[in-house]
């Protein structure tokens, strides 16, 4: 009688079906069995995770871990309110979905009951906070804040010396529209005049 494969599933880790090939020639069947045994949960078609044990019960992994498994080696960046609202530019709105920049596809997907807005756009590999300032300016309508208010906030925080001016200009030129670049230049000029 053959013994069923007992893979070393790591709690809190997400897996694509193909990653289970190292334990079985039929990873789809193995995934089904592990879900049945409660060792894995299915987050989406072909995407699974091993729940993390916690005192509150089995918990799903972080967004970053699910996205890491989903995108494989392809880079991605979580943006949106969690990044924008900590800039201190007075945006406070939250989304019901996680905004994810990536190099593969634009789509709206649900993993484990959580919505993800995937956007295939250019983004820096290791973004400085100045990138998210430009990103917020580009998405002010999604963030529910006017450009005028953001411009006032940006000028005030530039005056306080909060941002690297060279990096801010670089990010605006690399990732902003002409209108965003013009706004950044106005804020830089206004901050220079008052400081």
């Amino acid at each position: 009688m053959s013994v069923a494969a007992q893979p070393e599933i790591e709690p809190g880790r997400a897996y694509r079906t193909r990653e289970l090939r190292r334990w079985s020639a039929n990873p789809t069947r193995l995934a089904k069995r592990l879900v049945r045994e409660g060792k894995l949960r299915q987050a989406a078609q072909g995407l699974f995770y091993a729940p993390l044990e916690s005192k509150f019960g089995p918990a799903p992994p972080s967004h970053t871990e699910l996205l890491r498994a989903f995108f494989g080696c392809s880079p991605f960046l979580i943006s949106g309110p969690p990044k924008w609202n900590i800039l201190g530019l007075r945006s406070t709105a939250m989304f019901a979905a996680t905004l994810v920049y990536n190099t593969k596809r634009t789509a709206e997907l649900t993993f484990d009951g959580q919505r993800y807005l995937l956007r295939r756009v250019r983004f820096p590999q290791d973004p400085p906070p100045e990138y998210f300032v430009v990103d917020l300016l580009q998405h002010h309508d999604m963030a529910g804040i006017s450009l005028a208010e953001l411009e006032r906030g940006l000028t005030a925080t530039l005056t306080e010396g909060r941002w690297d001016r060279r990096l801010l200009r670089e990010m605006a030129e690399g990732y902003g529209t002409k209108a965003t670049q013009a706004l950044v230049e106005r804020a830089l000029r206004a901050a220079s005049e008052t400081s």
């Binding site: 993390l52 916690s54 918990a59 939250m94 989304f95 919505r115």
Partner: protein, 51 residues
């Protein structure tokens, strides 16, 4: 007095609730932080009196 957000597994708790409710983790966390601020206020504060 200790608060649940001081628990090292608070993030896991938020993720479990979000999964069960089908609501984003960010919204669950925002609700957690906003609710006590309203609960601690006098109920009439900021309420305009009617005509």
């Amino acid at each position: 007095m200790s608060f649940v957000h001081e628990d090292p597994e608070f993030e896991q708790l938020l993720a479990i609730i979000a999964r069960k409710a089908g609501i984003s983790v960010a919204l669950i966390e925002k609700d957690y932080w906003v609710t006590p601020r309203f609960c601690n206020r006098p109920s009439t504060e900021g309420v305009e009196s009617g005509p």
